[in-house]
């Protein structure tokens, strides 16, 4: 069982570090939401098929997520836990409290490690920006943000499992900005954010194109030169593992 760390007393200092590390995004302590977040976690674990924490895919995603999180000062003080959901549809979401979820389908979807890092970094961005701390209490749930659901022009809610998903275009763009910073600091190609957004399945009603978000990303990345990031051997192994699993069945 993971030991959760209290960060409340350190928060004033962490805010300062955070403002540098993640481009001025506001951060707020979230202790008052923790109980709702834990309920949401239990609900997800009880409802959805998850990969075990000992599986190689889970261990790799956890390792990559931690590497990304530790690129920001505040990220080092959050007890991150990354879960892999057994679902072939590409998706990733976070619920606060350091809990981040990504599906097998998303790992299959990416073409390189920077793209996978981009998906995780976006979810870290929601956490680091404090989005869960200010989220309204939605039917006994603290909030849920999803990288693959395109935001509309106004905040709206959609159902995921028995949870309510909040899509706020402003917060999605904030998470993108933080993700770009994280990717740069971690040595991944931040342009992978744009590649992922452009390549999302289109026309299926689930992933409509959000041109506003794409334009904002293009503008942000125009100042940042792309880099050639080498895929790690771990990443290549995981891709082979998933391919072999699918071939088995």
């Amino acid at each position: 069982m993971r030991k959760r760390q209290g960060v409340g007393a350190l928060m004033p200092l962490l805010f300062v570090g955070m403002s540098v590390a993640v481009a001025g995004m506001p951060v707020a302590p979230c202790d008052h939401k923790q109980a709702a977040i834990e309920i949401s976690l239990q609900r997800i674990v009880n409802e959805w098929p998850m990969r075990g924490s000992g599986e190689s895919v889970s261990q790799y995603v956890q390792k990559l997520g931690i590497r990304l999180a530790f690129s920001s000062l505040y990220g080092r003080n959050i007890p991150w836990q990354f879960w892999v959901v057994r679902n072939l549809a590409p998706n990733a979401f976070s619920i606060g409290g350091g809990y981040v979820f990504i599906t097998d389908g998303a790992v299959n979807f990416v073409r390189n490690e920077s793209e996978l890092a981009a998906i995780l970094a976006h979810e870290l961005g929601h956490e680091l920006a404090g989005h869960f701390c200010v989220a309204p209490d939605l039917i006994d749930f603290g909030g849920l943000f999803d990288i693959f659901s395109a935001p509309k022009t106004q905040q709206h809610q959609v159902g995921v499992g028995s949870l309510t998903q909040v899509i706020d275009p402003v917060k999605e763009q904030q998470a993108d900005q933080i993700a770009v910073t994280i990717l740069q600091a971690s040595g991944y190609d931040s342009h992978a954010m744009l590649e992922v957004a452009r390549r999302l399945p289109k026309g299926d009603g689930v992933h409509p194109v959000d041109f506003q978000r794409l334009r904002a990303l293009e503008s942000l990345l125009a100042k940042i030169p792309p880099i050639k990031a080498q895929d790690s051997e771990d990443f290549l192994t995981i891709k082979r593992t998933l391919a072999a699993e699918q071939a088995t069945w």
Binding site: R43, E47, W48, P49, R86, V158, G159, V160, G161, S162
Partner: protein
């Protein structure tokens, strides 16, 4: 042809042959033909004639492993399943989640009946009377798939359900520890759970 290309072709061919080897309705002779190919290709992949021969021999020995009995039933209503596993309706997507997977007895010998059991939940939006689920099980040893034991589409009411399959252990099944991975899938949601058994000498 370079070595890399040869390995890619071998992998593709090997998976095709493993599939043909696994189909239960096939005759033992046809299965044995596929298994011989698996042995050859395993040898190519591992650069080891011994490993290839071993894989082929194991596959032949498993040709007689077939379903003896299949039983399925609903064991919990939606309400009972929710209460037991602490989830709440309504949901917005279909999910399948294995709660338990067993192999009994844990140690078997040639001629014994091995019972493979699975219990899983089917969760779907309100108003869905039932969902289509694909139930599968694959026999593995040392992490490598040896044989697809069962693949069957079933229509499941929501709630908890169980399935049990009996297999007769063939005479020539090599002693050792085996894993049966059981899988359920509905739409894009799927779950896999292993169960271990030992074939004694």
């Amino acid at each position: 042809m370079n070595k890399c290309k040869l390995k890619v072709i071998a992998i593709v061919c090997s998976s095709v042959l493993l599939s043909s080897c696994a189909t239960m309705e096939q005759s033992a002779g046809l299965a044995a033909l596929g298994c011989a190919g698996v042995g050859v290709l395993t040898g190519v992949l591992t650069n080891s004639a011994g490993a290839g021969a071993g894989a082929g021999a194991g596959c032949v020995a498993l040709a007689g492993l077939a379903i003896y009995n299949y039983h399925t039933s609903q064991t919990r209503t939606v309400q009972q399943d929710q209460q037991l596993y602490g989830y709440t309706a309504p949901v917005n997507s279909t999910e399948v989640k294995i709660r338990n997977a067993t192999a009994y007895p844990e140690t078997v010998r040639a001629g014994d009946i091995l019972k493979i059991g699975m219990d899983y939940s089917v969760i779907a939006p309100n108003g869905t009377p039932s969902v289509n689920v694909q139930e599968s099980m694959v026999l593995k040893r040392d992490g490598k798939p040896l044989k697809t034991l069962s693949e069957r589409p079933v229509t499941r009411p929501l709630g908890g359900g169980s399935s049990e399959v009996d297999f007769k252990i063939p005479d020539k099944m090599p002693p050792g520890t085996y894993v049966i991975e059981q899988k359920v899938q509905s739409g894009t949601s799927y779950d896999i759970r292993p169960a271990v058994f030992v074939v004694g000498s």
